[in-house]
Amino acid sequence: MLKSLVARTGILCRLNLKRDGLKLLIWMVGLAGLFTAIAAKFEGIYGTQTALNTIAKTLKTPAMVSLFGEFTAKMPYTTATIFATEMVVFMAIMMIIMNIMIAVAATRGEEDTGVLELVRAHTVGRLAPLLATAIELTSLNFIIGLLFGAGLQLAQLPGANTTGNWLIGMGLAASGWLFGMLTLCLAQIATTASETTMLSYAIFGGSYVARMVTDVQHPKLTWWVPFGWIEKLDAYQTNRWLPVVCMLLLGLGCLIGAALMSYQRDLGAGLIAPKQGRLRASASLMGPTTLLLRQLRGTLSAWVIGSAVLGAAYGSIFNTIGDLAKSNPMIKQLLGTSALVAANRLIVKQFIAVLAIVLVVVALIPAIQIMLKLVSDEQKGILHQLYATATSRWHVWASYTGVAVVTAGIVLLAGVGGMYAAGHAVMTTPVVWTTYRQVWLAYLPAMLVMVAAASVLVGWVPKWRYLAWGWTFYGFLSLYLGRLIDLPKWARQLTPLGFVNQVPVHALDWSTNWWCLGLTVLLLGLASWGYRRRDLAQ
């Protein structure tokens, strides 16, 4: 019985490897290379005890805790303990994104395109496709974990030990794997690939916010958040394996849940029943733009709400962050009340400047996604229906580009607004809205350049459109970690986001804004020209 359920899993595994091989290789080399390169660089950046003490002081501030987790390293600080604090949350985010992407494509993705139906029609066990994907994810995470461990062994950070190195490697592998298994589970509940992606990211985003709030206010509670377990490894100190065990157990639970649901359900169906559609189109559905909005309304509202919640979560800890007197009661007497308020406000502003990067990337993701949808809709043949009517190429291109640009602006506005609202509610002397508006104004033009660049890829070389993701990812990496890993200025300025100079700590620089807007217009002109003259996919 069991044997027939998993028949031919081996063949499917090989097939998966053939299908995903290049993708897996890029992820493996990319993540392991990045991790090892940073580790190797770390000794140069934080080689002296003074440097270590300074960074430790920074990492202890609530702002940094909210980004990187609770600072648990004990004196004397070593390069290794600092590395463990700074790197695990960031690398875990990357691992989780990788797992969600691959898991969705291999399960619901294959089901949506009908490939799974073809596979299942052969002597292949009912659970074999699921199991093959689980094996693929497990091997991928395990190999990356090994590469991480090996990279740390090679880097020989001062203060490191072998157990700690492998603990970090395996811990990151386990946290990625856990979300991979969770996605397999969600793939059985949702009805389509995009629904699965949305559910997975909703849970991931929720856990990220939850761990941030608990880290800042009550680090012990972080144990209740699965995403927070990665912060509890305490590498190079007590070297705790318990979090890894927790992740493995929960992941296994998810896999079993996925298998049970997959066994029960119909092919192509989920637990969420599809609703009946409208009999007639509403009056508002009348052209390419409204058509696109009609398709995306669910996704777009999810992004806006998600961004607002994330912003609000950050804003809700502004009172904890912006209170120097809390950590040092003497300071109030030293500075005087008005000077203290000013100092507090500066800290909050610094924090806003760092957080803006997260909100910017969160807003860029749906914008780039919509831009690239212009190619995926074309390749699915959906746009052919549209082009057979009296609808011009320019009109369709402008709809997608316009919606992408507006999405970038609105999602960022929601994040900044959420931050303002929550900050306003918790702070005794809140930061004024103008400050937040400056952040929005400063980043938007730089974001538009990136959306416009994606549009150029779509118009001229649709095959290379994924470069837009690479660029966005690099932007996130260079800004989130850039200063901490001592990335040179030119390297940070490889994306237009790198030119935005720490607004709102520094003033908004209109000259940057103008050249960004000018470049955007230029790129969009180029993109629309290319899109109108090229062949559409067969």
């Binding site: 389509t192 599809p274 609703k275 009946q276 559609g277 409208r278 009999l279 007639r280 189109a281 509403s282 559905l285 009348m286 052209g287 058509l291 009609r294 398709q295 699915k380 043949g381 959906i382 052919h384 229906q385 549209l386 082009y387 057979a388 009517t389 009296a390 609808t391 011009s392 003259r533 090229r534 062949d535 559409l536 067969q538």
Partner: protein, 304 residues
């Protein structure tokens, strides 16, 4: 044949994909009130030709005009008076069939009319289901209903009935005949030869990116052979020696044979046969299928 200005005119159309010559020489025209059958094996270039006509692909050489306008330059103006149904209909997954029909109509400035409702009923489509849950046949119905309720002058159907049941196929044929009676022009690409034979005034056969034959079915029949099964009183031993006779098979002795004869030699052969004193004779005109086979299995020239 009508001598009016053609609705569609293609001359020496060429298309390359990298080094591959998808279309080397496409040449045909469609006149008002005409149903033109476009047939050819898989990969011959039918869909590529249609996609050039729709302005989705840009031709590398030659010209193609619809309503006298260039298909690439003036695609939007042309599409205002054109309706298209692809063989592989892909729809917006989270819109319902009813919404998509209305949208496609609106995009051409048309309205959802009583005719649309009648068509939805006739094709028995459930318009409230989301497009993602439709089968291939149902997706085709959505595109067909939208096309038939559009008030266009030129209709392009690319294998439109490949997923339909016989009842709906029948309905499709009736609808096309109505279009024809209303003086509209139709380009019908199909593999269902009975459908083409029944509906098309003229036919174009495409092979390896070239139009190898165009004309009415009657014209084409002249180019090919009639099969004759004949029984006579006197011996038919010398039939095989007559010019234009092919593939002789002996049915029963010397007096009952069957063979194929070239159209231009038919009179001479018939005279010979009647001289042998006929007992029974059946002649079968070449079917489209015979024509098709003859063109498709011919030696393939190098396309590279």
């Amino acid at each position: 044949m009508t001598q009016a200005t053609p609705v569609l005119k293609i001359s020496h159309l060429q298309k390359r994909f990298g080094k591959f010559n998808a279309l080397t020489d496409i040449d045909f025209a469609i006149y008002p009130g005409e149903v033109f059958g476009f047939i050819g094996p898989n990969g011959a270039g039918k869909s590529t030709t249609i996609r050039i006509l729709l302005g989705l692909l840009k031709a590398n050489g030659g010209t193609a005009t619809i309503f006298g306008q260039d298909v690439w330059q003036h695609s939007v103006a042309i599409h205002q008076r054109l309706a298209y149904v692809p063989g592989d209909v892909n729809l917006w997954p989270n819109l319902s069939g009813g919404e998509i029909i209305d949208l496609l109509l609106k995009l051409n400035g048309d309205q959802h009319t009583a005719k649309t409702d009648a068509l939805i009923k006739a094709f028995s489509l459930d318009p409230r289901k989301k497009a993602r849950t439709y089968s291939k046949g149902n997706r085709q119905k959505v595109a067909l209903i939208a096309a038939f309720s559009t008030d266009a002058d030129f209709y392009i159907f690319d294998e439109p009935t490949s997923g339909l049941d016989p009842l709906n196929e029948q309905l499709f044929q009736t609808q096309v005949l109505q279009l024809k009676q209303a003086g509209k022009s139709v380009l019908l690409s199909s593999h269902i030869l009975s459908e083409v034979e029944k509906m098309c005034d003229r036919i174009g056969i495409i092979r390896e990116g070239t139009i190898v034959e165009t004309g009415t079915l009657a014209d084409m029949r002249h180019l090919t052979r009639t099969t004759i099964d004949v029984q006579t009183v006197q011996s038919l031993a010398h039939v095989a020696e007559l010019p234009g006779v092919h593939g002789l098979t002996v049915k029963a002795g010397q007096n009952h044979v069957s063979f194929a004869v070239d159209a231009d030699q038919l009179t001479a052969v018939m005279q010979y046969l009647s001289a042998q004193q006929l007992v029974a004779i059946t002649s079968t005109p070449p079917t489209l299928e015979d024509l098709f086979m003859r063109y498709y299995t011919a030696a393939t020239p190098d396309r590279k």
